[in-house]
């Protein structure tokens, strides 16, 4: 019975909104913009968050990277200039870490270059070639599917051997087993000793267009003076970080009062830095949304007051035929809630469209709308409808039937 009444006031709310389409639409604009902002920003941020998290999980969990430059955002020009002046990180540091480290076992330089690989008349362009040590596969938890990974001897004797990623194999080899075959990098012959297990695509980019060669061999291409990264598998977390710090300070002859002139990076730290940055964005967008929702709410209140005064006669008739004050209140409250929810739906739809558009433009990053933001949007709209609709609805419900009927 009560449900029937609810349906009836819902119906009458929809009728009245339909009767004033343009007015209702303009009224909802503030709500639309507010909800759109929340949905749009939340989607983009959660998309980027996932993207960043995925990208860096490639680097492996529990892996510390010793580099000249710190990872992250928001470095000032002065800071950057200072960091630029740091002494390069070289093999000396990597070897020291390997030798003196007690809380960690696995250390590998990581020297990256994009180069062309050739075999006969076949070419693989822009292969990401990584100079690494025999520890690298353990550090990043990547294994070979065929043959073997780099060995200690390969490193010590500067061997011209390589381990190929699946994409490179597909480009350079057709049917035959690549193990033992030769490929060319920068005019040098390399023996294929292994093939990495496939990793697939990540965010539209193949993770298999790679090759690994001994870092000692890599330095013949890059020279010994350019700065490198050093990957360390940190079994003991903070303790490892501290130990790395002290070893490097020793190797680089830093005096006690000098700052560290190197950075120890990790994917976790970067992700948390990113999260901090995005939480600022979230707060700003919520503030924008809140302002437009409040403005929208005041618009709703205004239009509901107009509606109540336009329909004073109707209110009188309804009361004359037996409507209680509470029922009139319910009817007008329902109307303002419906207007707000319609605004919310339009806002969600527009927010989703914008998200989709950004997804297409930024090819690769998948933005999805977090479900909770939809609920948040609806919840907000509902509350605003009730909050700003209450005063006009109460005004309607308190009208005396006789005066309402006399209203011209």
């Amino acid at each position: 019975m009560f449900r029937g009444f609810l349906i009836e006031i819902l119906r009458s709310a929809v009728e009245s909104i339909k009767a004033n389409k343009l007015r209702s639409l303009l009224t909802t604009l503030g709500i639309v913009i507010g909800v759109m902002t929340v949905i749009g920003v939340m989607s983009v941020i959660s998309g980027y968050k996932q993207y960043i998290a995925n990208s860096f999980s490639q680097l492996g969990a529990n892996v510390l990277y010793v580099s000249k430059y710190p990872w992250g955002f928001g470095m000032s020009r002065e800071e950057f200039k200072k960091i630029q002046k740091r002494e390069n990180i070289g093999l000396r540091e990597a070897e020291a870490l390997k030798e003196y480290g007690t809380s960690f076992k696995y250390v590998s330089p990581s020297i990256l270059r994009n180069m062309k690989m050739e075999r006969g008349d076949k070419e693989a362009e822009e292969v990401q070639i990584e100079g690494a040590s025999e520890d690298f596969s353990r550090i990043t938890n990547r294994n070979v599917s065929l043959g073997r990974f780099l060995s200690k001897d390969d490193i010590v004797y500067n061997r011209y051997v390589c381990v190929l990623g699946q994409d490179v194999v597909n480009t350079l080899f057709t049917e035959e087993n690549p193990i033992g075959k030769k490929v060319k990098i920068q005019g040098r012959q390399f023996n294929v000793i292994g093939i990495m297990a496939e990793k697939g695509k990540m965010m539209g980019q193949s993770m298999d267009n790679t090759a690994f060669i001994p870092y000692t061999t890599m330095t013949t291409f890059t020279g010994k003076r350019s700065t490198i990264n050093i990957a360390v598998y940190a079994e003991e977390g903070e303790e490892t970080r501290e130990e790395i710090r002290w070893i490097l300070r020793g190797v680089r002859d830093l005096k006690p009062d000098e700052e560290d002139d190197f950075s120890i990076n990790s994917s976790e730290a970067l992700i948390s830095q990113f999260n901090q940055l995005t939480s600022t964005f979230i707060i700003i967008s919520i503030a924008i949304a809140a302002i437009s929702l409040v403005v929208g709410g005041i618009g709703i209140m205004n239009i509901m007051l107009v509606s109540v005064s336009e329909r004073t006669r109707e209110i009188g008739v309804r009361k004359a035929i037996g409507a209680k004050s509470g029922e009139i209140l319910g009817q007008f409250l329902m109307e303002s809630v419906v207007i707000c929810l319609v605004g919310g739906i339009i806002g969600i739809f527009l927010g989703a469209s914008i998200t989709k558009l950004i997804s297409i433009v930024s090819s690769g990053i998948l933005f999805h709308i977090p479900i909770w933001s939809i609920f948040l949007g609806f919840g907000f709209c509902f509350s605003i409808g009730v909050f700003f609709g209450y005063y006009p609805a109460r005004k309607a419900s308190k009208l005396s039937p006789v005066e309402a009927l006399r209203y011209e």
């Binding site: 009836e8 009728e15 008739v317 009361k319 004359a320 035929i321 037996g322 004050s325 006789v402 009927l405």
Partner: protein
């Protein structure tokens, strides 16, 4: 016949800023079940005010009012709304139909507040419209109907919750004499079916329909109430 309405010493005072308007100055009215009453008097005589109080749309400033033995002065707003819903059907001079909804929906309006299920509502609304001769106007909007037809829709609406009393405030005021006559005929028929009818009018030919007349002048009943 039992006494349906019993009013004693009813007054109504409106305050318009500084001045007080005494619309009713001690009115005694008794109406029995099934009566056909005309309330007549010149404009400003207080007949509309009396009608509003009888119809529980308004409260008396002082005096007693018993409806079916119940003290109306003791009732709260919601109880008055229930009385209007269950006991009283109103017909107004200006019809007061909702403009955006069809005739049948206008008729079904009181049933919404009586929590009648939608299907039943429409069925009943259509059958009442049939009984006032508007069976072919069920889905028309008020502005597609003539004045007489609109007033018949309004009568149908007043009948929706099968009220004991029908109160008509100048029901023919906006109609020509032929249409007005039709409306009065319908009201006479309803009286024959046993409804208590109260017509408020300043027009003689309308008032003549009443089996008993209450003359109001300057907020008081002239002669016997």
């Amino acid at each position: 016949m039992s006494e349906l309405i019993k009013m004693k010493g009813v007054t109504k005072v409106y305050s318009l800023g500084e001045t007080e308007v005494h619309a009713l100055r001690g009115v005694d009215v008794k109406i029995k079940k099934g009566e056909f009453i005309s309330i007549i008097g010149p404009s400003g005589s207080g007949k509309s005010t009396l009608m509003h109080i009888i119809g529980c749309l308004d409260r008396a400033t002082s005096g007693s009012y018993f409806l079916q033995g119940k003290d109306v002065n003791e009732m709260d707003e919601n109880q008055l709304a229930d009385i209007r819903k269950e006991f009283i059907g109103f017909i107004f001079q200006d019809f007061y139909l909702l403009p955006d909804v069809p005739a049948w929906y206008n008729v079904s309006l009181p049933m919404i507040y009586d929590r009648i299920p939608p299907k039943e509502r429409k069925k009943k609304a259509v059958s009442i419209l049939n009984s006032v001769g508007l069976g072919d106007r069920v889905n028309h909007l008020p502005n597609q109907l003539s004045g007489g037809e609109r007033q018949r829709v309004a009568i149908a609406r007043s009948l929706a919750n099968e009220p004991e009393i029908i109160i008509a405030d100048e029901p023919t005021g906006n109609l020509d004499s032929v249409r007005g006559e039709e409306i009065l005929k319908i009201l006479s028929e309803l009286h024959k079916e046993g409804k208590t009818i109260i017509i408020v009018s300043h027009e003689k030919y309308v008032a003549e329909r009443g089996k008993r007349k209450i003359h109001l002048k300057d907020g008081m009943v002239e002669g016997k109430g």
